[in-house]
């Protein structure tokens, strides 16, 4: 039943167009940040290709290269999209899959957090801290460019990141799942404590029917 209720809360959160838009935007922004952190989204006019842009280039042995690891949890790009002068997107399918998973979790976290707020009986702060769990994943790609990290964060932190690089993605995934569970639990609690009939809720009539006038 808990899973069913969780699913309904997720559905309810995503049914609201405004929340859906915010969640989608958050997910997209995160996906772009993730791809950028891997060095797969490059904004640099020096990175170019012979001839005109846009241009698409793929490696011939893309099936085997797709699973070649080049960093902590970073995989070999098998194609490049030279979108415009100075804007290049490298495509590594495994990384896109990981990025999409993380971005989806971010989107659901944002949607459920905002939903929990809307059903709260009193004004409360949004639980944005749950999204901090997404940050370690942004460091998974940085290990391929240690000097860059060292310049920004210092050599000691760069070395520390290298030593824990394999744990960064699992930590992010676990944090986001836990945070999502927490948000759903919070929304559910608010609904119950707000005297919304859980039976009504579970029956699918989930229009936030508070019993006002009590």
């Amino acid at each position: 039943m808990a899973l069913s209720v969780s699913g309904q809360i997720l559905a309810q959160a995503l049914r609201r167009s405004r929340l859906r838009l915010i969640a989608l935007a958050a997910g997209l922004v995160y996906l772009l940040l993730y791809v950028y952190s891997l060095g797969h989204l490059v904004i640099d006019r020096n990175v170019t290709v012979p001839g005109e842009t846009p241009a698409f280039v793929a490696v011939p042995d893309w099936t085997s290269k797709s699973f070649e690891r080049v960093g902590g949890v970073s995989f070999e790009p098998i194609a490049a999209l030279y979108l415009a002068p100075g804007l290049t997107l490298f495509i590594a399918p495994v990384n896109l899959l990981i990025g999409a998973t993380l971005a989806s979790l971010i989107a659901l976290n944002v949607a459920t957090a905002a939903y929990a707020l809307t059903v709260a009986r009193s004004c409360r702060r949004l639980p944005w801290t749950g999204l901090l769990g997404s940050l370690p994943a942004l460091l998974t790609g940085f290990v391929c460019c240690v000097p860059t990290v060292a310049l920004v964060l210092g050599a000691n932190l760069a070395l520390a990141i290298i030593s824990v690089q394999m744990f960064l993605l699992p930590v992010s995934l676990a944090s986001l799942v836990i945070s999502l569970g927490w948000n759903i639990r919070r929304a559910r609690k608010e609904l119950v404590e707000g005297s919304i009939s859980l039976s009504v809720f579970e029956s699918g009539n989930v229009g936030l029917q508070r019993r006002h006038g009590q």
Binding site: G39, V42, D44, N46, V47, T48, V49, P50, V57, V59, D61, K65, E68, R69, V70, G71, G72, E76, P77, I78, A79, A80, T88, F90, V143, C144, C145, V146, P147, T148, A150, L151, A155, A158, L159, I162, S163, Q165
Partner: protein, 370 residues
Amino acid sequence: MDMRQITRRRFLELSVVGATGLAATGVVRARTAGGQSEPTPASPMSTKRLERFAESIVSGGPPKDGIPAIDDPRFVPAEDMDYLLKPEDRVFVLHYRQEVRVYPQLVLVWHEIVNDRVAGEQLSVTYCPLTGSAIAFKGRAPDGAPLTFGTSGKLVNSNLLMYDRQTDSQWPQMLGQAISGSLGGTILEEIPLSWTTWERWKAQGVSAPVLSAQSGHLRGYGEDPYGAYAGSNQGYYGNADLIFPVLDENDRFEPKEVVIGVKVGEDRLAIPKEAALQKDAWNLTLANQPLVALRDPALESVGVFSRQLGNQTFSFEGRDGDSLQDQDGGVWHQVGPVLEGPGGERLPSATFYDAMWFAWYAFFPHTQIA
């Protein structure tokens, strides 16, 4: 057109380098034959010192082959690389037997190793951005079997730790000697590379093949994740900070000041590159081996050559900036990787390469300094 352009072209067009080992500096023993004398090659280090290096291996971040070597290099005419290379970008020039090849730093920084075949021989051109060292190695095991190399993802003294694909032995690039594996203790034959800029190289007017960015991999060719060798924002190359630990440190020079590291027998010599560029010729002696550090004004690079021919030792000084003059008034020219005298005598290059001072000292703390 200056004399050096003429001589370089002569080297290419007439294939004047016919004798064996002109560029190959790691020959087993010094010898005098056919009017040339080769410097004593670098001697292998003791097992105890190799063990110290092996114990200091650290992860550089990427996994084994995470920085992929180029195994099927493609070469193109210089004009086909103009879309990528700016005038100030660095290139490494290899002279080997009758062949000349150019390896752009902006391609090598993403791969660090190119397993190439030059003049019919297995040659690996390597570059470590963290130590600013570019060295070509003859890929040949003691039994004559060819060796090709990959990146281990690990570092020793911040320097690229290569492994060979045939035995998985590990080789720090600047050491040129295996520190572990079945080839442990084996030393590789080194071939010097000249550092210059794309602009200076093209001004030579030499038609030599240039390593293409069609490497079989997709990378941000054109950018350098470590920084830049020119301009105001040089990143890693322009500051004194090290990222990875080193075994020995010395503040005689700034950590990343470039020195020309010379290996003769068990002796090592560091020649500050900036100082060498101020002189036409710098007569030196290392391990009783007379050497001359020679500035190439066209390429703004420094080479190190023997100045001994049989029992005769030469002392050089600059002459009109284009050539050298020995103590008897004989005029010498640099012809690719050799010095050619008035009677066609040839003096080969020593074992040397450009490197950052901190890394040279970390590997060779007993080094002499010019």
